[in-house]
Symmetry: C2
Subunit: 103 residues, 2 copies
């Protein structure tokens, strides 16, 4: 099932698809909403830490699918009701390398 | 679908089914895990407040189903992977009247 979901994702998301304003909204959402469970500084809480070192070996596709579809058997909910695939992938890339994308 | 899920719930849960130790664990889970999104004092955060006054008009069956199955279109995840129906119902009753159940 996971592989089916991954296969549905676009291979590449152009960062330019996400406007600067939307990128700022996504970063705010990351710390406020994802931060409810992962910690506002993403150092972990109910959910695991989402720091770059920890995520470096996780493929972007895996992180994107987790954001969009949640993780069965855990409290991680699906966020596809409020994020597009491109936005979830942008967040996955950002999580692995936040400084690269920070303005 | 919601009504189907509600129909699957037992009509009555005997509080005695939940041991005192498990009740304490559930209260801890409520404040730590549910509290990640609803606030440790349940006054709201990413998710709405879960205080008795706010929940007084919500049926126990609705709250139980929400705990077990989550709320589609929101970040509320399903907790059925770690709670039984009886435990979810106990939490729903507790949320509506926490002082009644506090030791």
């Amino acid at each position: 099932m996971k592989y089916l979901l991954l296969a549905l994702l676009p291979v590449v998301t152009q960062a330019s698809e996400i406007t600067t304003q939307r990128q700022e909204e996504l970063i705010y959402l990351l710390h406020q909403d994802c931060g409810s469970c992962h910690g506002m500084t993403l150092k972990g809480g109910l959910g695991p830490a989402l720091l770059p070192d920890i995520l470096q070996n996780k493929p972007v596709e895996f992180l994107t699918a987790t954001i969009l579809f949640g993780r069965s058997g855990t409290p991680m909910p699906p966020w596809s009701f409020m994020l597009t695939e491109s936005e979830a992938e942008w967040l996955a890339v950002y999580l692995k390398n936040p400084k690269h994308d920070e303005k």
